[in-house]
């Protein structure tokens, strides 16, 4: 269970007593998908960055199954973010981009290498392992990113509008990849303004308004 308890954030430095610009509480169970929507500027990116540990909260607590994540660095949280774009290292070929999820220091066994090839084939990218990200379409790039989150030990998958701008066929393939992770017990937080994505994946919905989470 991911438990965010009054996690708060000030955009500008101010007195500790002042009301934070941003504060929220919610729970997310393993295997569950929670969709968050809201107008632009409501703080969706801030929410994701706080969860991932790219921003430090000014108050509150974040735990996973009782383990305190509040002050953990990004890599120790077991979270993987998939952004709208820039999910891949553009100077490295596809196979290394996936391989880094398997082993951060890129020590890959021969078995793991052939597993990468199989995994790529499975998501419809067979034979493209030596391409650079710039040589793939947007949908293909997102598949690589999701494949990487799949091979990594992920507890929480944070999706930051990862399907926007893609056609129906691509999106359905990507939804499949997300559902597979859910089935394996990964908690998914989806930020999207597209009702179709939300409909396809989410079990629960919340709205973000002026830095606070509310029921829609």
């Amino acid at each position: 269970m991911l438990d965010a308890n009054n996690l708060s954030f000030h955009y500008t430095r101010c007195d500790p007593g002042e009301t934070p610009d941003f504060a929220f509480s919610f729970r997310l169970a393993p295997g569950e998908c929670l969709a968050v929507s809201g107008p632009s500027g409501a703080g969706k990116s801030t929410l994701l960055n706080l969860l991932a540990g790219f921003l430090s909260p000014s108050g509150g607590r974040l735990t996973w199954l009782g383990e305190d994540l509040t002050d953990q660095p990004p890599w120790a949280r077991g979270m993987t973010t998939v952004f709208q774009d820039h999910n891949l290292f553009e100077h490295l070929p596809v196979w290394i981009n996936v391989g880094l999820g398997l082993s951060p220091d890129l020590r890959l066994s021969d078995d793991q290498r052939s597993d990468i090839l199989d995994g790529l084939a499975e998501v419809g990218l067979g034979g493209l392992h030596d391409r650079l990200p710039g040589e793939l379409s947007g949908g293909q790039q997102q598949r690589v990113a999701l494949l990487r989150s799949l091979v990594r030990e992920t507890r929480v998958l944070l999706l930051d509008e990862p399907f926007s701008g893609l056609d129906r066929g691509n999106r359905e393939a990507l939804w499949g990849l997300v559902r597979r992770q859910q089935a394996a017990g990964v908690a998914v937080l989806l930020v999207s303004h597209d009702p179709e994505d939300v409909e396809a994946l989410a079990q629960r919905r919340l709205r973000l308004v002026e830095g606070r989470l509310v029921s829609p």
């Binding site: 077991g78 820039h86 890129l106």
Partner: protein, 554 residues
């Protein structure tokens, strides 16, 4: 299912040894080496000095005058160099294709490293009283007196050295602007003013403080140029006083005090510049599409054709004739030089030493910037600034003081052989640091935020982070930095002269030997070889790193 097989081999993010502090330790090690060498040698002088009184600085009445003049000429030289470098860089960025552009860029790289005696020869041949430009000057002003001696000559020589350096750095900064911004500017139809305000000036502004500090330091410590062109003892530098104190009068206290004065002024300036933030870099943009793309820039039409021609022609006229004069003089001496058995061993020796110095500078530079980035990312601005600033320490410290101090430190005895060469490599490497750091900084710190977060989340740290994420982006700037560092070491005479040598000269030493015994044509030929070597180095290193590596799976 294949993905299940994959999942079985998952990396656990929890049990790994934390490598995140590697940049910090690398930076601290480099910092310790620098401060140890720099302050250690200065300290050695202070310890040896019998008694130090600040008052002795003012007992020599002319010292205050020297200081005033040094500040004045260095400020003026910096102002003129940068003031002219800006329009030149903007024009170069706007004109991406014209005959001779590559040649001009190459020549800009060369000017930095021409040994001062050779540069002086070229400048005198062009601008002197009997120079190529003299008839023109006389026709214009009716004066036979010329402009090469006195403040105008000093500024001219410093501009010759520093304008190309500054313009080159500024040009790279302009070219780092993302292609998307240029597309946007083109779509909006921005004209000269608009482009200047939205794209050019913000890019240049980031670089200017550091660049000004670098140029000022180079001008403030310039020795041969100021003395030769100054016209008399009224125009000298602190270094002359230092030389006198150290060599003639054996007044270590005064020497250390003078060095401290120089250190304070220049480091103070660096502190000011570093606190301005910004990320200057000589690095080629981060893989984004080439600036401007295929379309014609709107501001490249109309009146700017005329002004750009003016600036580029001006740059060529400043830069090329003195170099041509050296080449012409050198061609005459090539036949003589071919008979000198010591030439090729000297060249080889110089190259080996330069490679050592270049490698050292590169390693230290990367370590310092990595450490700086680590600290800056954690909000420790002062510590980060100190770490970056320490890279400038050795350039700011007079070579004479460094050499003497090291000598005192390494007493009782410093052999004339390998140790001497080793020390020269060490000091050269440290002296090249400010240049190397200017080149590398942007590339090392410029890992885009999105990629940095990705790397953090995937727990790619330490050596792997360097090997796979930074190095591929760093290869090109590193090659350029290496070329600069090697060239500085190749052209260096001041340091090698300090330690002496067992009758086996390096290329610049050979050159000075030739000058010391009237063989000035042969010396010019040696200079020509030196220039050719430097040019070859830039081309070779650039060529070796032109393409991104592809890393095939098998």
């Amino acid at each position: 299912m294949a993905s299940e097989a994959l999942t079985a081999g998952k990396a656990s993010p929890h049990g790994r040894r934390r490598l995140t502090q590697l940049p910090l330790w690398a930076g601290l090690t480099a910092l310790a080496a620098l401060v140890g060498l720099g302050l250690g040698s200065l300290g050695a002088l202070l310890v040896q000095a019998p008694g130090i009184s600040m008052a002795s600085l003012w007992q020599e009445p002319y010292l205050a005058g020297v200081l005033r003049f040094s500040l004045w000429q260095a400020s003026l030289s910096t102002l003129v160099s940068l003031g002219l470098a800006i329009p030149v860089a903007v024009a170069l960025a706007r004109r991406r294709r014209f005959a001779g552009r590559r040649l001009l860029l190459r020549a800009m790289e060369l000017s930095l490293v021409v040994p001062s005696l050779i540069a002086l020869f070229g400048l005198v041949a062009v601008h002197g009283r009997q120079g190529w430009a003299a008839p023109l000057w006389e026709a214009l002003t009716g004066s036979q007196e010329g402009y090469l001696y006195g403040l105008s000559g000093i500024v001219l020589a410093h501009v010759f050295y520093n304008l190309p350096l500054a313009a080159r750095l500024l040009l790279q900064e302009l070219e780092r602007a993302p292609a998307a911004h240029w597309r946007l500017a083109a779509q909006l139809g921005l004209k000269r003013r608009g482009i200047w305000r939205t794209l050019e000036w913000p890019a240049l502004k980031r670089l200017l403080p550091r660049l000004a500090a670098l140029v000022f330091t180079l001008c403030f410590t310039s020795f041969a140029i100021v003395m030769t062109l100054g016209g008399g003892p009224a125009s000298t530098t602190l270094e002359v006083a230092l030389y006198q104190a150290l060599k003639f009068d054996n007044d270590l206290a005064l020497a250390a005090l003078l060095a401290l004065t120089q250190l304070t002024i220049c480091l103070g300036l660096w502190g000011l510049a570093l606190s301005q933030g910004g990320a200057p870099s000589l690095a080629v943009g981060d893989g984004s599409a080439p600036l401007g793309g295929r379309w014609q820039r709107r501001d490249a039409l109309g009146i700017s054709r005329l002004t750009d021609t003016f600036w580029l022609l001006g740059l060529a006229l400043l830069l090329l004739p003195p170099l041509v004069a050296v080449v012409v003089a050198g061609l005459g001496g090539l036949a003589d030089l071919a008979h000198q058995a010591s030439l090729w061993p000297a060249l080889w020796r110089s190259l080996v030493m330069a490679a050592g110095a270049g490698g050292l500078a590169l390693t230290l530079g990367i370590a310092l910037i990595a450490g700086h980035g680590w600290l800056a990312a954690r909000g420790k601005r002062l510590a980060a600034g100190l770490m970056e600033g320490s890279g400038q320490l050795i350039l700011v410290l007079p070579a004479l003081v460094l050499g003497t101090g090291l000598f005192l430190l390494l007493r009782p005895r410093l052999g004339g052989g390998w140790q001497g060469y080793g020390l020269v490599v060490l000091v050269n490497g440290f002296m090249a640091l400010p240049f190397v750091m200017q080149v590398l900084r942007g590339a090392l710190l410029g890992l885009p935020m999105a990629q940095r977060r990705l790397a953090d989340q995937l727990d790619i740290q330490g050596v792997t982070r360097f090997r796979w994420l930074l190095w591929p982006r760093l290869r090109r700037p590193a090659a350029l930095a290496m070329a600069y560092a090697m060239t500085l070491s190749l052209g260096d005479f001041s340091v090698i002269a300090l330690f002496g040598s067992p009758s086996a000269p390096t290329l610049p030493m050979l050159l000075y030997q030739q000058l010391g015994s009237y063989r000035w044509q042969t010396a010019a030929a040696t200079a020509l070889i030196l220039l050719a070597t430097v040019a070859a180095l830039f081309v070779l290193l650039g060529w070796l790193t032109r393409r991104l590596p592809r890393y095939p799976l098998r």
